[in-house]
């Protein structure tokens, strides 16, 4: 019986070890510490938005710690860093948008050693695009919450809705950044169809979501989205 007791003890220890490792993971306290090290005036507003992102499952502490520590180590004006973070925070909390794409672009810009002002401008454009695309889905009766329970409307779970918004906005942003005309609605639509088809072929996105988007969203509405974003940026 001694051997059995010893083996039972080993099993218990093995079950405890992973739990202790989990406790060592990054938490919102680490995020707050990184944010404080930047010494920003709007730290409380930014932190509040980040907490909302954690609750919604739209952000993880790891990606925020990575972003904030990279920003802290980056040379540039504190004001630029603050505006950059505020843009992301407001997109997340005030506009309830998915911000993974924005964080990824900031990380890329920092890695490429792009001036903060250029990154700021790009993030601002992409945040506007996310909002416009989200509104476009709403207009086409594609929602993410049951509160919009109209007739003929389709309610998607938040992660699927966020993924669609992100992929469409990213496609439009890539199109815009390639320097092509925002008036070529059919070309923009083709780009979107290609992106969604690739995602579908790789089973990253359900076929029904792709069919839904291609059926409901028309080329002219994509032109409208890009024109709106351009006019917002010019103002």
């Amino acid at each position: 019986m001694k051997e059995l007791a010893f083996l039972a003890l080993v099993v218990c220890l093995l079950m405890v070890v992973p739990t202790q490792n989990t406790r060592a993971e990054t938490t919102s306290i680490d995020v707050e510490q990184e944010l404080q090290s930047l010494g920003l005036q709007s730290a409380a507003e930014i932190m509040s938005a980040i907490e909302t992102g954690f609750l919604q499952g739209r952000l993880t502490p790891d990606e925020m710690v990575s972003l904030l520590s990279n920003l802290a180590a980056y040379s540039g004006e504190k004001e630029d860093k603050e505006i950059l973070l505020l843009t992301i925070a407001r997109a997340l909390k005030d506009d309830s948008l998915p911000v993974t794409m924005l964080i990824d672009k900031v990380e890329e810009g920092l890695a490429r050693k792009v001036p903060l002002q250029t990154i700021r401008q790009m993030i601002s454009e992409r945040a506007s695009l996310l909002a416009e695309v989200r509104d476009l889905l709403y207009m086409n009766l594609i929602f993410t919450s049951s509160e919009y329970g109209q007739e003929n409307c389709l309610v998607l779970p938040l992660p699927r809705f966020d993924f669609l918004v992100t992929q469409i906005a990213d496609t439009l942003a890539d199109y815009q950044e390639s320097g092509r005309s925002p008036l070529e609605g059919y070309l923009i639509y083709q780009e979107m169809r290609t992106r969604l088809s690739m995602l579908q072929q790789n089973a990253i996105i359900p076929a029904e979501d792709v069919e839904l988007i291609l059926e409901r969203i028309k080329p002219e509405s994509l032109t409208h989205v890009l024109s709106n974003v351009l006019s917002q940026q010019q103002q």
């Binding site: 059995l4 699927r160 072929q201």
Partner: protein, 198 residues
């Protein structure tokens, strides 16, 4: 009738009758075995195991218990190691936070090979949306100028570029597509799922 003729007639008649009735004998053994087996009381696997366990000596029972617990320990160890080693990571947790349903990643665990020909280069790295744009170094062990690394990625769409001695190179011939970004190029690769239950 002659005696020999009578004998022949009898033999032929018997042979004919035997050959006509032979089909009754075909498979008779199987039928009997099946019927007997059907009459035997059936035991479930649990009952059989319990009976075997009861028949065992006490020392054998203890040995069996030790083997069982050892197997459980190895199972836990397997899961524990698989979650921590990069090579196996994702085998048990192929869940993408962007989806609402669990789906299985490629059987190769989403392994993606990055290859960059850069003869004479000092360092070659890959940066992308899979590593927060932080460099993952490529190696050229046989010093033939072909640098490579194999990364385990969860399914998704990834933008990336190579960094050769500090210079960015965003047009990988193995890429699925290219996009413009910050005035340069990024390569794009899709890592897919197997199956269609998304």
């Amino acid at each position: 009738m002659h005696k020999d003729d009578l004998e022949k007639l009898l033999r032929d008649t018997l042979q004919q009758e035997v050959s006509e009735e032979r089909h009754y004998l075909d498979g008779l053994e199987k039928k009997i075995v099946a019927e007997l087996t059907g009459r035997l009381p059936r035991r479930g696997w649990l009952q059989t195991l319990t009976r075997l366990f009861a028949q065992m000596q006490r020392s054998h029972r203890r040995q069996l218990a030790v083997i069982g617990i050892t197997a459980v320990i190895f199972l836990f160890l397997g899961i524990f190691v698989s979650e921590r080693l990069p090579l196996f990571r994702g085998l048990f947790s192929a869940y993408d936070k962007q989806h609402t349903t669990t789906i299985t990643a490629n059987s190769d665990g989403g392994q993606l090979l990055f290859v960059m020909p850069a003869p004479g280069a000092q360092t070659v790295a890959v940066v992308g949306s899979f590593n927060d744009w932080k460099p993952t170094l490529l190696t050229d062990e046989d010093e033939d100028g072909i640098w490579l690394t194999n990364l385990s990625l969860t399914p998704g769409r990834y933008e990336y570029a190579f960094v050769v001695d500090g210079r960015w190179w965003g047009q990988d011939p193995l890429a699925d597509e290219y996009v413009r970004s910050f005035g340069g190029y990024n390569s794009v690769r899709y890592v897919g799922y197997t199956g269609d239950n998304i």
